[in-house]
Amino acid sequence: MDFEFFFKLFLGGLTRGSIYALIALGYTMVYGIIELINFAHGEIYMIGAFTALIISTVLTMLGFPALAVTLIAVAAAVFYACCYGYTIEKIAYKPLRTAPRLSALISAIGMSLFLQNYVLLAQTSDFLPFPSLIPDFEFWEPYAHIMSAAEFTIIITTVLVMVGLTFLIKFTQIGKAMRATSQDKTMAMLLGINVNRVISFTFIIGSGTAAIGGMLIASHIGQINFYMGFIAGIKAFVAAVLGGIGNIPGAVLGSLVLGWTESFFTGYISSDYEDVFAFLFLVLILIFRPSGILGRAETKKV
């Protein structure tokens, strides 16, 4: 019984961590390339979920089979979110690339509020029911009391996305260009890398993963509203910092650590102070490892 309890909390923390990770990846990639904290990232996640909801509702009404609905909704959500990510970068960040970092940060916060209010006005302020796009698979039924099919899917997807991203960055040409840009933008440019394209690409990939996250999570908890991106975004940002911002395995590790901390603390002590404890833990880690669990301490030449 006690082991089962521990195991369930472990799995719950894993799910929660995976959710954070899907969002944190976008934060950390963008930071790695242009050292900008893209506060509008949480909103991309929300827009992904809204797109999936709209598309899946329309397709279900038209009588498409469930699997097709899910796949088309995911594709549409990813595509839509990528377009938003690309446009946001062009409108809000590119003109400020040489400006002081604080200006870009303010621009990011402004973008976040703009998108929240845009969805609030264009859609609704209500909570909307979100269909379970991930069905309760029959083969999963024996394990359903331990972990739902949706949670299982979230974890698997996170692993796939992480492996895919690592592959992309380590072994492809664009990945090499991304690494070069992140190390030294000017030098990369001199070597003939189209830095603008690399940055746009980073935003597109980050937004795509956030949209997948948005859809999976909305499908897991069964409801969405315009504000959902805010808290998830903040937590994911914390996770990215915890793991060492700019570092992709770090973002995943940080997310899992945060997810487990919250889950075990709720399970064994009290959920009243869940956030207090999670952030206390964050402070402790940052005291001993100021650049995050996997972050490298950077020495800047003056």
Binding site: T15, Y20, S125, G222, I231
Partner: protein
Amino acid sequence: MGCLLAVCLIFSCGKKEEAEQTIKLGVAGAHSGDLASYGLPSVNAAKLVVEKINANGGVLGQQVELLIEDDVCKPEVAGNTATKLISDGVDIVMGHICSGATKAALGIYKEANVVAMSPSATNPDLTLSGDYPNFFRTIPHDAKQAELQVKFATQTLKVKNVVILHDKGDYGKSQAELAKKYFEEAGVNVLLFEGVTPGAVDYSAIVTKLERQQPDLVVWGGYHPEASKIVTLMRKQRMDTLFIGADGVKDETFIKVAGEYAEGVYATGPKDISDNPMAKMAKEEHQNEFGSDPGAFFDAAYAATQALLNAIEKAGSTDYDKVINALRTEYVETPLGKIRFDENGDATGIGFSVYKVTNGQFIEEK
């Protein structure tokens, strides 16, 4: 150009003079944000009542003007909302909607000698503490709901062990604490009493924890968004434990969002008054005017607007003491029945029932 300006001036002057002769009824509450579904029905109710009264010559021969302000259910915003209403010269206020926001606004109204009446703020202290003699409400306070929940749980459901969860907010936590107190007095074991963080991405840890306690009943103190998440997760983990909430859960949005998982959930809420002729009429007016069924707290807001304007009429002025006296002594016919207010500010003769979600609707348990 000059001519146009002059016309504008005359026009705005004329408008101003006219405005001075109106009775200004403030309507404050959550009109956007997560909890707009609690606040917007009260705006509709006020519009309907005022329209009717104005068509019949107004109050004390003056037209009633509505000043509608949004507090998004946040205490930190509600203070500004109240200040704004007072600087706009409000005579009397119907609102606010959420207990926390109401509490934040009441002190400001008290300083300015403005009477406020909420159709939905159920925190007991608002009236029972005696701090706010300017506050009235057309909804029974939470202590009554908690009493009913415990009575229903022990006598009808015959539970022995309960888990109580709340959202740490003013409304939810006080609701949960009262339930805990009454359950313990009734000899029921409270296995777990905990707050959860509203808006969190996932509640599986707390659901796992309560599953381990194996309670007969989960009592929820808080609003519907978290309730639907928790119920959905419980059912997805194949837990069929009973679940009861208060009027924060008894909202159509809860059923809409939780869908099939909402089935069998209990919630306390204001008594079903659909047989009351005035309630029927109010519902019809709403359907004609807005083309939909009224939402949560609509009848209470309708009654509050009527009671406030009636009190001004009976008092013969908008004088603070006279209006309060009229509210306490004069009965008024409303969709909730014939009501007046006791010395604490609570409406007399209104109450709660237990509802159960059956086939996608809240059905009153007799």
